[in-house]
């Protein structure tokens, strides 16, 4: 498989081997060290537990575990920890606290009104616009749907490195779950998932489906498997509702 094909079909080249910190992942002098790797002499050495991905000459490690690594453009769900003069401090599960400035919110907000907009302990959906050395900046002024305060529904916490599997290729997996459960689901890249549905049964069903995906992330043909699981369990759900 050429590197280009590999890029287009992630996860299709069979089982990828896990590398450990300190393991030599490339002995080719022409290869370039990417994320979570270092060059040591001629070799490229992994610095994190993960799987290797090679795109052309660039060799990088995709982490499998650990805390969330914030990236610009990510949609995240966080908890408001503090209110300052010009914004809110938000815990998004990253090593650093994120900051949502007043100017990145819609409309004019009086300083005395700030805690009514987002109070301490509120959960919010926001987008990361900037990641600096020790700070993360959030925004609400984006076209994406769903940015703002969370008022109802269910929050599920998962390993942030499993999020790409929950979303699936171009959102295929999450679309399946959304359709089957009739819920609105917003997946934060930091591993928090917001489920909002008509009733509790639907929400719990969506949560169960997500848990199923998490447990079977390594399985091949996961989308088909999930489709089957959804069908099977949907019937069970209907029966249970009828009995009640």
């Amino acid at each position: 498989m050429t590197p280009k094909e590999k890029q287009e079909n992630p996860g299709k080249e069979g089982k990828r081997e896990v590398v450990i910190p300190g393991e030599i992942i490339s002995e080719d002098e022409n290869d370039l060290p990417g994320e979570w790797t270092v060059k040591s002499g001629k070799n490229i050495v992994a610095t994190r537990l993960g799987v290797v991905e090679k795109i052309d000459r660039l060799v990088k490690v995709i982490p499998l575990s650990g805390v969330y690594i914030p990236r610009r453009g990510n949609i995240v769900i966080g908890e408001v920890k503090d209110i300052t003069m010009n914004g809110w401090l938000v815990d998004i599960g990253a090593p650093y606290t994120a900051f949502l400035p007043l100017r990145e919110c819609h409309g004019f907000i009086e300083e005395s009104e700030m805690e009514n907009v987002y109070g301490i302990g509120d959960l919010i959906v926001a987008k990361i616009i900037d990641v600096r050395r020790t700070s993360i900046d959030l925004t609400m002024k984006q076209k994406e749907k769903g940015l703002g305060k969370i008022r109802e529904g269910l929050i599920v916490k998962v390993n942030p490195h499993r999020v790409p599997r929950i979303i699936g290729k171009e959102g295929s997996m999450i679309r399946l779950i959304k359709e089957a459960s009739k819920c609105v689901i917003i997946v934060g890249q930091n591993g928090l998932i917001w489920i909002r549905g008509e009733n509790l049964e639907n929400q719990l069903f969506a949560r169960k489906a997500i848990e199923f995906v998490i447990e079977n992330t390594i399985a091949e043909g996961l989308t088909e498997k999930v489709e089957e699981w959804l069908k099977e369990n949907k019937l069970k759900l209907k029966e249970e509702v009828k009995e009640n």
């Binding site: 081997e17 270092v38 050495v45 537990l49 090593p95 050395r133």
Partner: protein, 231 residues
């Protein structure tokens, strides 16, 4: 009488059976168990997280904190729980053993907390702790340049022994006991921990170091195998 046979009938350069596991503490960001025979160490890693109070933060690099505890039922006679002079020393040497490989410069202003708990002890707890902590750090996705393996070597009477047990540490006949915990880096083969309790000649010291290095290679193979099974 000289020391001819070890208390548990092992070869002089043979370790007790070793075992390891990762993900033993689901709440932690990374965790691992490592055991030498009946010495068990559990390590759990929390972080990297922002360090509070703020004045303790280092804007240049992150901070590593190690907390070592022996549980009260870990030894025959009840160990007094809580921090002691001994536990503080072991926490500190473990921190020094681990910090050369952790890329703290990538995590300014943060802290990584490592909690090492010994639920059952029969000598060699600091080495088991370091082995478990290295695996837990890898499991927590902390950037590291290489892995660390540690083992205790020693001289009982005039014999070089690997992975001492409590009875051997307390051996008093002949030349007595010398206990020497060592920690080796997996790739560069550098030493990050070397303590010595007892008396030993230069030649014997070098022989003991070599024996420790061989044992550490075996430990590293196990650490590697267990980490690679992670899905």
């Amino acid at each position: 009488m000289t020391y001819k046979e070890r208390f548990d009938k092992r070869d002089f350069k043979e370790m007790r059976p070793i075992d390891a596991k990762i993900g033993v503490v689901p709440n932690a960001d990374g965790s691992a168990m490592f055991s030498f025979g009946d010495t068990i160490a559990l390590a759990s890693v929390y972080g990297p997280k922002t360090l509070t109070p703020k004045h303790m933060q280092n804007p240049e690099k992150g901070i590593l904190r190690v907390h070592y505890t022996m549980l009260s039922f870990s030894v025959g006679e009840r160990a007094k729980p809580g921090a002691s002079r001994r536990s503080q020393e072991i926490s500190k040497v473990t921190e020094w053993a681990l910090s050369p490989v952790v890329r703290l410069d990538e995590l300014p202003g943060t802290v990584i907390d490592i909690h090492i708990v010994i639920p059952q002890a029969n000598a060699g707890t600091r080495c088991a702790g370091i082995n478990a902590a290295a695996m837990a750090l890898a499991h927590a996705g902390i950037p590291m340049t290489e892995m660390i393996s540690a083992v205790s070597v020693g001289k009982i009477d005039d014999k070089i022994c690997v992975d001492l047990i409590k009875e051997e540490e307390d051996y008093e006949e002949g030349e007595g006991a010398t206990d020497m915990p060592v920690a080796y880096l997996s790739n560069s083969g550098k030493l990050t921990l070397l303590q010595l309790d007892g008396r030993i000649s230069t030649e014997k010291f070098e022989e003991a170091l070599e024996a420790g290095k061989d044992a550490c290679k075996k430990i590293f193979e196990l650490q590697k195998k267990v980490l690679k099974e992670y899905k």
